[in-house]
């Protein structure tokens, strides 16, 4: 196992180098830079802009900028955000943390919904319940989650007007958040996170449910399931011990993507719910060409993906004894 991990580490070095090159130069494909938009600002003189450009290093050739960036990266410095005038890490970290609450909760809800539905669909194949969930799943599959979010917000507002209940539909905290106790703060965030998290989970649940159902069906018809039944194993154990254990193997291979997903935020769902996650900040950074915020964030995502893939390979060898690394 250890030699495998070491080889894995060495092999990922060129990947990371390639990734830094791609990230940096693809961002540069957009015309202009962070200061271009300031040219139209009558309050800032041309000289000031030239000064800033020199300060930010934007007057240097791209290749020189790239190597400065890499040199700083090697010292653990992701660079400076132009817009915030602070290190990228300090700017991004609190937002990533906010997103993490949302994504963690949503991932939990996601599996709590997807696994039972997938198993149910296979065990009771073609039953009324299976047909209803299948239809619903196909419907959700064609539904972008931000649009689902809009519909949910609409209905929640209707309920709010009708009943006067205080159901939050945006933001992450209530106005009196700072006065609350620790537990109260936790519950307040939970209250705000719940609806976007559930919407996010439901929007994504269809694909996994369908695949799990297919995997379960395939394994339920396997010869070794007949063997288990012939031994007198109960139906519950047949489903969960013998079938499910085999059916989840392909999903373990996908776990690597979970790690970068945890920091990448909830996408447009955050925007729709005006949630202070990482997505709105990244969109701003893209618009204003805040170079190092985008580059630094993308790079961290890629590092996490590489680590995540290694983790899922290790997990895979734990779950499936046929896979061994030497």
């Amino acid at each position: 196992m250890l030699p495998f991990l070491l080889r894995r580490l060495v092999n990922s070095i060129p990947t990371v180098i390639g990734a830094t090159i791609l990230i940096f130069f693809i961002i540069q494909l957009a015309p202009g830079d962070f200061l271009t938009s300031q040219l139209l600002n009558p309050n800032i003189s041309k000289e000031q802009i030239d000064n800033l450009r020199r300060n930010f290093g934007l007057d240097q050739p791209l290749i020189v900028q790239y190597f400065y960036w890499v040199k700083n990266l090697l010292q653990g410095d992701l660079g400076l955000s132009f817009a915030y005038q602070q290190p990228v890490l300090n700017v991004v970290a609190p937002r990533v943390l906010n997103s993490l609450y949302l994504v963690l909760f949503s991932t939990l809800v996601f599996y709590v919904i997807a696994i039972p539905l997938g198993v149910y669909g296979a065990v009771r194949q073609y039953s009324i319940g299976d047909k209803i969930t299948s239809t619903l799943m196909y419907f959700l599959l064609g539904f972008p989650s931000f649009f689902l979010a809009l519909i949910v917000i609409y209905f929640i507002l209707q309920i709010r007007f009708a009943t006067g209940w205080d159901i939050p539909v945006g933001g992450m905290t209530s106005q009196n958040y700072d006065d609350l106790s620790t537990l109260g703060k936790f519950l307040d965030v939970l209250k705000h996170v719940a609806i976007p998290a559930v919407v996010l989970a439901i929007g994504d649940v269809a694909g996994t449910t369908r695949v799990l159902r297919g995997q379960m069906l395939e394994n339920l018809n396997a010869d070794y399931i007949r063997t288990a039944r012939a031994k007198g194993v109960s139906e519950f154990k047949v489903v969960y011990k013998h079938t499910f254990r085999n059916a989840i193997i392909p999903f373990i291979a996908g776990i690597g993507g979970l790690l970068p997903a945890l920091i990448s935020g909830a996408g447009f769902t955050e925007v729709v719910f005006s949630y202070p996650g990482i997505t709105p900040m990244l969109l701003d950074a893209l618009n204003s060409q805040d170079l190092y915020v985008i580059a630094g964030f993308s790079l961290v995502g890629i590092l996490l993906l590489i680590i995540g893939n290694a983790v899922s390979d290790i997990l895979l060898s734990v779950v499936d004894p046929r896979i061994r690394y030497a």
């Binding site: 396997a222 010869d223 070794y224 007949r226 063997t227 288990a228 039944r229 012939a230 031994k231 007198g232 194993v233 109960s234 139906e235 013998h242 254990r245 085999n246 193997i249 779950v319 499936d320 004894p321 046929r322």
Partner: protein, 338 residues
């Protein structure tokens, strides 16, 4: 309930297992009757689609339902507790206590019949823990003992191996170890050697015979291989189109078959004692035509369309199973002339 002789372990009476499909009712097993005595080996012979596997799965109550269903008949089985029960009427929980404990089964495909993610020891121990109330450690020790019994070298080490680390023959030995781990009264072997190469086949058959002597169980041996029948069986049931067409002592059937289908089967295997000089090539006889679709069986004898002895009367009604003497029966109206 039909009376059961004291030395009868299993009595299948008029068993009908039907599959209700969109295309119609498939009568895979249509009124099968046979019995199996204690310590005896009964071979059920027939082509693919003759209903022999469905018969064995019906005895285990492992027919997928829907679409399958035991429509009629009874399966009387005398368990290790000495009580005779009708298996078709038992609850699912009662049936689970019989499966793997009183009746065990081994299958045709040793390569896929073991769960790939558990060690062979775990899989054998599962049955032991389930039926004998042992804890995990005791069960694992017993599993290693079973592996030794079925002739797997270094059983203490191999008990912790996974199925993919073993060959087909080894895996079938593991299946046998699992099936026999609770000393069943009946072992159903559904073509256990079909997927193995010939040298391994002989080893597995030897092993089964040896263990039958040691444990004293009965074997219901399902096969299409008449060579295996001659080697293993005491009595033979020949099935065709979901019905028993001939039943009798193994020597009787091989020497004096009383059904044209059995005759056809016997003529289609090469024999050493057919007194032909070297170089004198004799073509093997094949049975013309195909097995009839179980959706659309002929109204009379199911074998009539392929039978060279068929006369008009054969197509009128399903022939009865007639006694031809010595406990030998045949479902052919012309058995006296054969």
């Amino acid at each position: 309930m039909t009376a059961v002789a004291t030395d009868t372990l299993l009595a299948v009476n008029g068993l009908k297992t039907y599959f209700y499909t969109d295309d119609g009712v498939v009568k895979s097993v249509d009124g099968v009757t046979f019995h199996l005595n204690k310590g005896e080996t009964l071979a059920v012979v027939g082509e693919s689609g003759s209903g022999k596997s469905v018969t064995s799965l019906s005895i285990m109550r492992l027919i997928a339902s829907p679409p399958g269903k035991i429509a009629e008949g009874e399966v009387l089985f005398t368990g290790k507790d000495g009580k005779t029960k009708d298996i078709t009427k038992l609850s699912e929980a009662e049936m689970r206590r019989i499966r793997g404990n009183d009746i065990s089964m081994i299958f045709q495909e040793p390569m896929t019949s073991l769960n790939p993610v558990y060690t062979v020891g775990d899989q054998i121990a599962e049955a032991i823990m389930l039926h004998q109330g042992k804890n995990r450690k005791e069960a694992m020790d017993m599993a290693a003992g079973m592996l030794e019994l079925v002739g797997i070298p270094a059983p203490k080490k191999r008990v912790h191996e996974y199925p993919h680390q073993m060959s087909g023959g080894m895996r079938q030995r593991v299946m046998i170890a699992m099936a026999l781990s609770c000393n069943p009264a009946l072992l159903i072997a559904d073509e256990p050697t079909t997927a193995l190469d010939v040298t391994i086949q002989a080893q597995i058959l030897d092993l089964m015979r040896k263990l039958q002597e040691e444990i004293g169980m009965s074997i219901l041996f399902i096969t299409h291989n008449l060579g295996v029948v001659a080697e293993m069986a005491d009595r033979v049931v020949v099935m065709y189109g979901g019905r028993v067409v001939e039943e009798g002592d193994v020597m009787e059937i091989f020497k004096a078959p009383k059904h044209p289908y059995t005759i056809g089967l016997l003529n289609s295997i090469p024999r050493v004692d057919h007194g032909k000089a070297a170089g004198d090539k004799e073509r093997l006889e094949a049975i013309p035509g195909n097995v009839p679709s179980p959706l659309n069986l002929p109204p009379g004898c199911a074998f009539a369309p392929r039978c060279k002895y068929a006369i008009d009367d054969c197509n009128k009604a399903v022939p009865a199973l007639e006694d031809t003497g010595n406990g030998h029966t045949s479902r052919c109206i012309r058995w006296r002339e054969l």
